[in-house]
């Protein structure tokens, strides 16, 4: 209480320094007067009386100083004075200040920019009520390494009905739907859910109502919920939309409500339409993702224990499909950020390393500048400034520089972030990307990073300068060698440190570049040139049996007669377009064995020819393969080798699921990279599109052109219209675009890291150049003497080069250890990348050494050209 009172008074004292000063002076004068009076009365002469009184008071100025400190807040007063002084110093050296602030602004701006992404994607709470209680529930299969597997409708029901830890459990899947009637059919992103979906998320309708359990019953009318965006775009924001009937996938649905579009669930897509999932009883069809809201008092562990019991029970009850499978619980927040977390955190660490190198350079600049301020600092020490005061002064300057750099960085950050997002593009699907902006957390981060940077680059130079200034003052502030030796040693250490960090970044950049080039050179297994790809969604009316086959045959016939078309074909999962369907099957000659699984694809005649996928054995599908002929399949090389090892696959037969008819292998094709370039081919089985098969409705039409493929699009569209009006067209592009899309993520990481590495290399080179150059300048006189004594310029260059190379080599050795570890953890970011590759490490070490030698050669050459006479006259 008392302490508080005195601090308030002292702080108040800051605002009236004049009055306080006056009061102290008057009181001390009165004290002296009273003392002198007494002394005179005791018989001293006036002069003697005054002298004695002054002596007993103990130095009037020092008493005043103590009083001043006590009546105000000295630290604050000094700080204010230091800041004013620092401003003056920095203004007097505009070049130094500009270089430092720009270096820091770039470094801090880049950090802020990456952190903005981290904040939006990983740190900010999800926009649902009480998001910490939301969880995803996945199926797992430890035998195949499946960790986040979609599950079947019966699985979902077992989880929903067999647990007590959750308030609500819902399942959903996302599939595009055709919206609107025949003429205006449009393919839009959509989510199919169970009725509890919005209750799990805790969402409310903007208008109307959301799904109720009664909507799920089979006799209920089909209903749909629209997103705000869909309502505005597709229906012009009509006020009477609730209750109207719209057509979704050719079926009438009643619109019951609208949800805000910022609530969306599929990363990167604003889902437009929500419909209800039909109930299903097939345990083999895993296509659902399950989301749930934990009860407030149920822990994750308790919920997991409940699910484990269900997993054991299910595995025992349905051994054929569920033996060995498990259930995994993960919080929604972790699940949303998980795919990009590692990548973002590594980027943040690396951009932090770039800033660290920047700080090292600034520290070196400060060291050099402080050395040239020895005289000034020495003078201040001689005048009674303590070492702590000098340190405080120098640190204030550093922090001021750092804050200026941070402020500039904060201004630059949005520009860098926009550039970053543009570069990442759609290749790196960042969840919650719409929330990327600078908020309080980002500003605090930038402030913290700036302060930390200020300390990092400020402490060492200040600590070196303060005592050497002390020595300098003792030696009359002459340019002593001893005074700068500590500085020189520190500068050398800093260069070694920054070379080491730069080498790590360089190794990471080189590794990514190398694996990216390898990836790009990987043969996808098909020819991408001159191929147009058009996504199709078939209406329900085109069911397999007769209509679908006729549609394929008729459309292909029409397109192949178009001028400029070489061939055309259909495929259910276009390579590298992200889709995949897995089915289980048995080999005909091993009917009792456990079912096998493979990717299944429906291909039409002409597909393999169009993508120029080689036929290794047998033949591809032809128009002769139809409903009336024997069911046939084509398999890829990997499937042939996996399922019929050591035998010819041709003529072998398989049985899919419970169906009785068997499928005969008529051809073996070359492997195709189905998911991306870095992932090896999986076993692939192609069903014939002209024969009865699964009722899948998304296909891609591929057309090989005789020239520019995109120019065929109008004709292809017209042909499609002529054959069937209500087929919706989705993605359109060339096959080259499709493959490039798969390269976007590795490309983005490579460019980013390449930029970091280049920046690091330049900064390290500048740092080394600065140190060697500075030491050469300091030693001009010594060089002059050595030249005058007959040393050859070449020997001088060699000796300086040796110093520079030794520093670089030391940095490289330290950096290599770090590079080995760091590249291995970054390698996980990219399919096909290898960390710790000796060739890459050796390459970057050589590059670093060459750049280091060049950076020290330039100042060395300058030293060798010193005119001995001029050098000796410098002092």
């Amino acid at each position: 209480m008392r302490t508080l009172r005195s601090w308030v008074l002292r702080l108040a004292g800051l605002f009236s320094p004049g009055r306080r000063e006056d009061e102290i002076r008057q009181e001390l004068e009165s004290h002296l007067q009273l003392h002198i009076d007494d002394n005179v009365r005791a018989g001293m002469s006036p002069a003697e009386a005054r002298r004695e009184a002054l002596l007993r008071l103990g130095g009037i100025e020092s008493v005043k100083e103590t009083q001043r400190d006590r009546s105000g807040v000295p630290l604050l007063q000094h700080l204010a004075r230091d800041v004013r002084y620092a401003f003056r110093v920095l203004r007097r050296n505009p070049t130094f200040t500009a270089i430092t602030v720009v270096t820091l602004a770039l470094g801090i701006g880049a950090n802020t920019s990456i952190f903005t992404l981290v904040n939006a994607v990983l740190l900010r709470p999800l926009p649902y009520s009480d998001p910490a209680r939301l969880v995803m529930i996945w199926g797992t299969d430890p035998r195949t390494g499946g960790r986040e597997m979609s599950v079947s409708y019966p699985d979902f029901e077992a989880w929903r009905d067999g647990t007590h830890s959750f308030e609500h459990v819902a399942a959903f899947t996302s599939r595009s739907v055709t919206l609107g009637g025949a003429e205006l059919a449009e393919l839009v992103p959509a989510v199919q859910t169970t009725s509890g979906f919005f209750r799990v998320l805790g969402m409310n309708a903007l208008a109307g109502r959301l799904f109720a359990d009664s909507d799920e019953t089979s006799e209920a009318q089909p209903v749909a919920v629209l997103s705000d965006a869909a309502w505005k775009r597709q229906f012009g924001g009509r006020g009477d939309i609730i209750g109207t009937t719209i057509t979704i996938n050719q079926r009438p649905h009643v619109v019951i409500g609208i949800v805000p579009s910022e609530f969306h669930f599929i990363p990167t897509e604003v889902e437009q339409v929500y419909t209800l999932l039909p109930r299903e009883t097939n345990r083999e069809h895993g296509y659902l993702r399950v989301i749930a809201r934990r009860r407030p008092n149920a822990t994750m562990a308790a919920a997991q224990a409940e699910l484990d019991v269900i997993a054991t029970r299910t595995a025992a009850a349905f051994p054929r499909t569920h033996a060995g499978t498990g259930i995994a619980l993960v919080s929604l927040e972790a699940a949303v950020g998980a795919p990009v977390r590692d990548g973002l955190l590594i980027l943040l660490a690396l951009v932090g390393a770039v800033l660290l190198i920047g700080c090292t350079n600034v520290a070196n600049l400060l060291l050099a500048r402080n050395a040239s301020r020895q005289h000034e600092l020495g003078l201040r020490i001689s005048l009674g400034a303590g070492r702590a005061r000098i340190l405080q002064q120098l640190l204030t300057e550093s922090l001021l520089l750092a804050l200026a750099g941070g402020a500039a960085g904060l201004v630059m950050a949005p520009i860098l972030t926009d550039a970053l997002l543009a570069m990442l593009g759609s290749g790196v699907p960042l969840p919650r990307i719409e929330g990327v902006n600078i908020d309080r957390t980002v500003v605090l981060f930038t402030f913290g990073v700036s302060l930390a940077a200020g300390l990092v680059f400020g402490v060492v130079p200040a600590a070196v300068a303060a005592p050497s200034a002390l020595q300098a003052s003792a030696r009359d502030a002459s340019r002593t060698i001893a005074g700068t030796r500590a500085g020189q040693r520190t500068r050398a250490t800093l260069v070694v440190v920054e070379t080491a960090i730069a080498l790590v970044l360089l190794a990471a950049g080189a590794m990514l570049t190398r694996s990216f080039l390898e990836l790009r050179a990987t043969a996808p297994g098909f020819v991408t040139g001159d191929v147009l790809a058009v996504g199709l969604r078939l209406p329900v009316s085109l069911a397999p049996g007769a209509q679908r086959e006729t549609f394929f045959e008729e459309l292909r016939r029409r397109i192949e007669t178009l001028p400029g078309v070489r061939s055309a074909g259909f495929i259910s999962s276009l390579p590298m377009a992200g889709g995949r369907d897995t089915l289980q099957f048995r080999l005909k000659d091993q009917p009792g064995a456990k079912p096998l699984s493979a990717n299944f694809n429906i291909a039409s005649p002409g597909y393999f020819k169009t993508l120029e996928i080689p036929i290794i054995a047998g033949r591809e599908f032809s128009n002769a393969d139809g409903a009336s002929t024997n069911p046939v399949i084509v398999v890829n090389e990997t499937a042939a080798r996996r399922f019929w090892p050591g035998r010819a696959a041709l003529g072998m037969e398989i049985a899919v699921s419970e169906s009785t008819s068997t499928l005969k292998v008529i051809g073996v094709t070359g492997d195709v990279r189905q998911s991306d370039l870095g992932t090896a081919a999986r076993p692939e089985i192609f069903l014939c599109a002209l024969q009865p098969g699964p009722g899948w409705s998304t296909f891609a039409l591929v057309v090989k052109a005789r020239g520019e493929p995109m120019s065929l699009l109008p004709d292809v569209r017209a042909s499609l219209r002529a054959v069937q009006r209500d087929v919706a067209i989705s993605r359109v592009g060339t096959m080259e675009d499709v493959v490039a899309g798969r390269l976007a993520q590795p490309r983005a990481y490579t460019i980013l890291l390449g930029a970091f590495a280049a920046l690091a290399l330049i900064l390290a080179a500048v740092g080394l150049y600065g140190v060697i150059s500075y030491s050469v300048t300091q030693r001009t006189r010594e060089m002059g003497i050595r030249l005058a004594l007959g040393s050859s310029p070449a020997a001088l260059v060699r000796s300086i080069l040796k110093t520079g190379t030794a520093l670089t080599a030391a940095g490289i050795v330290i950096g290599l250890a770090g590079a080995y570890a760091v590249t291995q953890s970054i390698a996980k970011l990219l399919p096909g990348a290898r960390g710790g590759d000796p060739l890459t490490l050796a390459g970057v070490a050589v590059l670093m050494l060459s750049v280091g030698s060049l950076a020290s050669y330039l100042p060395a050459r300058r030293a060798a050209r010193v005119d001995p006479l001029a050098a000796l006259r410098v002092e």
């Binding site: 009172r5 008074l9 002292r10 009181e27 004290h31 009273l34 006590r70």
Partner: protein
């Protein structure tokens, strides 16, 4: 003077100032310094200047109040008086001091303990 000893000295000095003001009434800085010097039997030969930071601290803490007045020799001087809070603080400090002194005394006197 090391900062530790300075702290102790400041504490002791503050108590002496409060006690002196209590017995003598309003007094100026010079008078207080003189009086403390005499009372302590000249064993504390310190600079008179050290009393002023102590006075400022006590005033900031509200134990003493100051006002300008005129000395018996007609000199202008700043006079300090004890406040109510100061009197309480003095009583508290004195009790504390006696207690400490008693404990220390018992430690150093061989016959006291049994």
């Amino acid at each position: 003077m090391s900062s530790d000893r300075a702290e102790v000295w400041q504490g002791t000095l503050a108590l002496m100032i409060l006690k002196t003001l209590d017995t003598m009434g309003a007094q100026h800085g010079y008078g207080l310094a003189r009086r403390i010097e005499q009372t302590s039997g000249h064993s504390l030969a310190v600079n008179y200047g050290t009393i002023y930071p102590a006075l400022l601290k006590l005033e900031q803490e509200g134990y003493i109040a100051s006002s300008w007045g005129v000395s018996e020799n007609n000199r202008r001087a700043k006079f300090y008086t004890l406040t109510g809070a100061g009197r309480k603080q003095l009583a508290r400090e004195a009790r504390e001091w006696e207690r400490t002194a008693g404990i220390i005394a018992r430690f150093f006197s061989p016959k006291a303990s049994s």
